[in-house]
Amino acid sequence: MAILKEAYQALESIVGPEFVSDDPGIREAYRKGGYGKNRPALEGQALRPGCVILPGSTKEVQQILKICTQYKIPFIPIGCFGIATQSPKVPDVLSIDLKRMDYLEIDEKNMYAICGPGVIYAQLQAECLKKGLATEGPGCGVGATVIGNHLNAGVGPLEYRMGWAQRRMLGLEWVLPDGDIVTLGSTSLDDEDYFWGEGLGPDLRGVLRGTFGWQGGMGIVTKMATKLFPFPGQDLERTGISPRTGFNMPPHLMKWLNVFYNSIEEAAFAMHELSKAQVGMALMTAPFSWRYFSRATSKEDFHESWQEALPELKETTPYMMRIMLVGLAGPKQLEYEEKVVREVIGRVGGDVREGRPFDESWINNADAHRIMFPGGMETSMKFHFDSLDASIELAKAAAELKRKYTPPLLDDYGIPGWLQMGDFGHVAFCEILVYFDPTTDPNDCYQHEVGFVESVRQDLELKAYCGLQGSYGPEPQIIGPAYNNYHLKEKELQDIFDPLHISNPPRPLDYAYGIDLDIDLSPQK
């Protein structure tokens, strides 16, 4: 144990002996985080933490961080441990697992939920659906914690109507690295009132997160309210036995329409025209590979069917635009929106097919991790947030780049990712996904990393908005210098609020990124 006995005893006095441990087995279970961009790079690097603690309240979190400050103990806040950035990268870390803090309260009338950091989306969604409300299950799956994911990513299909996670954050309670508590939004004036996120005056949610946030590098959010949205969830029927579980969608209120194209441009054009009409609850193009691993019964099954299908897919390059229609106002809205979709597709072309009235992926994203079927690891070569037209341009370039690194990346065709619109089409998101095996051959991992850095350079060369910020990319090395050295401003804020740099070091600004892999990190190649 590297954490001082005195500090350990202090921690024990806060949470009791049941909820703190320096046992090697307990610590081992907190060595390696889940998926996320830099998991492969961490394979050989992640360290066992020095100690693990499970606080049960804000007060305990506050006291723990004060102990960390007093003894200069680096700490890592952990929600569900779904991302690699919560793996210790420096020795003798205190991993703070927040799962006991699963407080949840829903204001049904005013459509928001107050969550503790241990609450996952699936829990929130379960409670929301009963009340005719919904949150958005993110693309990474509803096993993610609501707070952790809001602070880090929060990208999902319903953003087309519900807006981005950054905006869904309302009042919140935040324990800064030194143990001081700050409350944001309406909570800044009233500890009990969480309904509003902005202000007072300048909006300090801006310090809390931007593209990807601090990834635990700025204390711990112990309570947060998130916006909820009207959604006829009571009418969903749960059905099936694992692995085929899902919601039967009430046909009078919900419908999937899938429209098929042979080029991404055609699909995007249709998306654009539909967004003008402001119809739908989700609007996206999804890669065909998703269909294959969603329907596969096992890895072997996926690879067999994928390899069999790939030659023809490469030849015909099919794209599927999906739109989920929901009658928020009732069946008549659904009828109207379907009419609009058919009218638009009639004008712009496309083969409309009614989807199965079934959902396991978007309302409560239950099968997100089936994305691991193909390789073992999925990462994002591009996170691109901007507009639809920018996304299409960049996605095409990224697809070319990906081919350069295939294999070891899993072979695919066309645009190997998904595009989706936000805010009824004002903004769009594009993610280029790559699948590979991070463990069987170390060179595959290395090649993936090289390709990834190349992708960042590509963004800069094309003057596209590189979304791989925070610990997801070489921020201080390449991205920051290209964007007015914004990372140095971030560093200054970090120096003020975490002068000891004890909150999940070295994140989010990892100056050592890539060094162990000997990757060329020059801005231009």
Partner: protein
């Protein structure tokens, strides 16, 4: 030597993405915050070392020699009820089979002279000395028989009674026998030739001793020439159907006889019109899917091969995902009982919450076992307003009973055979 080769599953431990699905009820079926968890040890202790994803990391460290055995590490491993929920969840999405690694760790602990837990060793000693887990003379195994239960000397159906119903909750065996009679099923029993099935021996890593039980019982069954073996205990059922072939390096289909749980057999008889429930049972009940009758009961298919890139098994390995567990027979039977209102708990079928008794937990970690049972009882009360929680495994009932008695709950617990007995004859009520 461990029965399971960790190298086959190393890829799983390395590629666990920490999605935590293994801790939660299927996200589609999750219906509330309160009853959203599925792993008892993780829910009870909190630390990730008590959930499958953390245990995979521990396994990797043990295999790599980066972690040494300690009492705490043993506790982290043996507090798992091996209920199979993590397998169902992980296979649904990520395609890994954590239970194989969980079993391997216990086998390794025994191999390394560290496991199992002292309480398990005591049970193992009882079995070694007396062929049953309670240490009483095995000659008494058939003493549950009453005059109104009528086994025959030779029949196609063999009733494998199990230690618990033979020695402790004999009313389950008695009810089973009467139900077999009532459904026109001629059946035989092995008597003292029935040895403990060895479920716990296998689960705690005592592979060799478990194999000894398997060899004996399989031989006894073979000699009986039974075509069908019926078990009223979910653990015996799973042992016969899944663990024996696993231990013997064969598939379930190669056993030479069919293994049925009493609910499966009686459901068939119900559908055939040979079993009729005539006496109303006016009660509101809910049903506990025993893990080993439900998600863990799919047949075992022997597999040999290697694992390659992307974790692909060559040749493809059949996965047991809990899809084809025996969920419906018990429900069919209960729903056929006049007057009985059957309400579902939120966590049901493949998503059922383990009562906490299995995997050796009730013996070695009683507090956890009872905590888990208490959680389930809360769910039964809150979600369904039930008067009784019905199970199809004596260990579930035993565990529930202890909590209900201690907490002075008004809720009853019954084995499914007991409530069926009430439905075939008014006297059945008194018998229970």
């Amino acid at each position: 030597m461990t029965l399971i080769d960790f190298e086959t599953y190393r890829w799983d431990a390395q590629n666990c993405v920490r999605c935590s699905n293994c801790r939660w009820v299927d996200f589609i079926w999750m219906a509330s915050l309160q009853f959203s968890k599925i792993c008892p040890s993780s829910a009870r202790y909190g630390f990730d070392a008590y959930a499958a994803h953390g245990r995979l990391e521990i396994a990797l460290a043990l295999a790599n020699g980066e972690l040494e055995w300690s009492p705490k590490v043993l506790e982290e491993i043996y507090t798992c009820t091996l209920c199979g929920a993590c397998d169902v969840k992980c296979l649904r999405n990520v395609g890994l089979e954590p239970t194989q690694t969980l079993e391997w760790m216990r086998q390794k602990a025994v191999d390394d002279g560290q496991g199992p837990m002292p309480e398990h060793k005591a049970v193992a000693e009882n079995i070694a000395n007396n062929r049953n887990r309670y240490g009483t003379p095995n000659d008494n195994r058939g003493k549950w028989l009453r005059s109104d239960a009528r086994p025959v000397q030779k029949a196609d159906v063999l009733y494998f009674v199990g230690c618990n119903s033979s020695f402790k909750q004999q009313q389950i065996a008695q009810a089973t026998a009467k139900l077999l009679n009532a459904s026109g099923t001629e059946f035989m029993i092995l008597g003292e030739q029935e040895w403990c099935c060895g479920n716990q021996l296998y689960n705690v890593g005592l592979v060799d001793q478990a194999r000894e039980m398997a060899e004996h019982n399989l031989k006894a069954i073979e000699e009986s020439r039974a075509k069908t073996v019926v078990a009223s205990c979910a653990e015996c059922y799973q042992t016969l159907k899944v663990i024996y072939p696993k231990l013997m390096g064969k598939s379930t289909t190669d056993l030479g006889f069919e293994v049925l749980h009493i609910t499966e057999h009686l459901d068939q008889q119900l559908q055939n019109g040979k079993l009729k429930f005539t006496a109303p049972v006016n009660m509101r009940v809910t049903y506990q899917d025993p893990c080993r009758l439900g998600r863990m009961s799919e047949p075992w298919t022997h597999w040999e091969g290697k694992r390659g890139k992307y974790g692909i098994f060559d040749p493809p390995k059949p996965r047991r995902k809990g899809t084809y567990g025996a969920y419906d027979p018990a429900r069919n039977l209960l729903n056929a009982i006049p007057g009985l209102q059957v309400e579902e708990m939120e966590r049901r079928k493949d998503q059922a919450w383990c009562c906490g008794a299995s995997g050796g937990v009730r013996d070695a970690f009683k507090e956890l076992a009872l905590w888990s049972a208490r959680e389930r009882i809360e769910e039964a009360k809150e979600v369904t307003g039930a008067e009784a929680i019905i199970s199809a495994c004596p260990y579930c009932k035993e565990n529930f009973t202890e909590v209900i008695t201690a907490d002075k709950e008004r809720l009853q617990t019954l084995d499914i055979t007991e409530i069926m007995l009430q439905a075939i004859s008014p006297e059945g009520k008194e018998a229970c």
